[in-house]
Homo-oligomer: 243 residues x 2
């Protein structure tokens, strides 16, 4: 079954967590909004499902995914579905719930990262909420980033089965997502991250491990990987990068 | 199996979504942090699991829940688990995924509601981010609240099986959560909600339906239901309530 992924075509954003799971799975998928409008793809094809009046179960926002008759929205929900089908989650119920719990915490972290540059509203330009962004980011770097990163360090430390995976002895979609968060923070806040990383050797190790996996490495080197930019979740604004 | 719920004892907060599901299920549970310290309960019992060094799979934050050997964190994850066991979600995979997707969107909505009064950081008092809160809330009322509420109105409208449930013909945990969000917004922003509700008759109907269910009604009238207050997600600050 070929998957159809729907996400904004010029940014990594939240869609990247799904892209990484699809790539690591070796699953067959099309990134619809990056396709040609003449071929019935592109952003209009995505908006038709998002805003179409005939869609019985409309997603709230991208990313969403279609497979056969099933349409699925919400990043963590899509990952839960893919995880079960492509061995990116444990088979036991307790294991699956734990991976999902970690993913939901990662999604919360991503929301907070997004709000460092958009503390007032997503509809306003960064430039129109710069002052608030500086204030929010200072608190984020002082309190929130260490709290989240320290949490995942602790989870890795307490996982008796592995030093490089969050859950059990195998790779899960939560590992892929944590890789992406570290990768994104390195782009967005290189100076601050350098300091933060001193406290989280296991998280840094996980990032390196994921990056070195054959399929992930191939993906990152391909033109399917969109470069980080200032339209996505992880944005580099020099003034926000703590000293 | 008796459930142990762990959440802050003086607020509804995010724990309330779990409480509502437990109450509607008629499940046997203890609200641990509201119990007596002398009896090994209370907040210390919660913090021991949250911060304890021996916890193999530590939750990031309350609410979390224990049942037998299983410990579960993240509101939506707990609800997904309860939904399957207590008929608060469809039995089909597609139905379960759809309820979960809606719940995750509700959780995002709740996060944004929280950030109206805490746009800079949760560690600061409201009074120390009042100016930013006014700006964020104005945008929230102009754009975000209508977007979310309009979305759930649309989902109700498109559900062919029911006029009062989000998914299929039966109550789900997402219905309970939407009830709670409407209830909370009425408390936090009564003037603004009055205006917003004009556009969402089905959502208002769902709120009334859920409130009238025997177990929910009994719960709301009991002292197990903590009153809304300015420590939780839904807070009333007159200056934030749009005209």
């Amino acid at each position: 079954m070929r998957y159809e992924l729907y996400y904004w075509p010029t940014i990594q954003g939240r869609g990247e967590f799904v892209r990484l799971a699809l790539e690591e799975s070796g699953a067959s998928y099309i990134d619809i909004a990056r396709g040609l409008e003449e071929a019935g793809a592109g952003v209009p094809a995505m908006l038709e499902l998002l805003d179409g009046e005939m869609v019985e179960r409309p997603p709230f926002a991208p990313p969403f995914m279609k497979t056969g008759e099933l349409m699925l929205g919400q990043t963590a929900n899509i990952l839960q579905y893919l995880g079960q089908r492509h061995r990116l989650a444990p088979t036991s119920e307790a294991g699956r719930l734990w991976v999902h719990e970690l993913q939901l915490t990662l999604c919360d972290f991503v929301d907070e990262i997004h709000d460092t540059h958009h503390p007032i509203d997503g509809s306003l330009y960064y430039e129109d909420q710069r002052k608030e962004a500086r204030r929010r980011t200072a608190k984020f770097l002082e309190l929130r980033a260490p709290k989240y990163l320290g949490y995942f360090e602790r989870v890795l430390e307490r996982n008796q089965s592995s030093g490089t995976h969050l859950v059990g002895a195998r790779l899960s979609y939560a590992d892929l997502s944590l890789f992406q968060v570290v990768d994104g923070l390195r782009y967005a806040m290189p100076r601050a991250m350098k300091r933060l990383e001193e406290e989280i050797p296991r998280v840094v190790g996980l990032h390196g491990h994921v990056a070195s996996r054959v399929r992930v490495r191939d993906y990152l080197a391909s033109d399917r990987r969109i470069a980080f930019n200032e339209g996505g979740v992880f944005r580099y604004y020099k003034e926000l990068d703590g000293a």
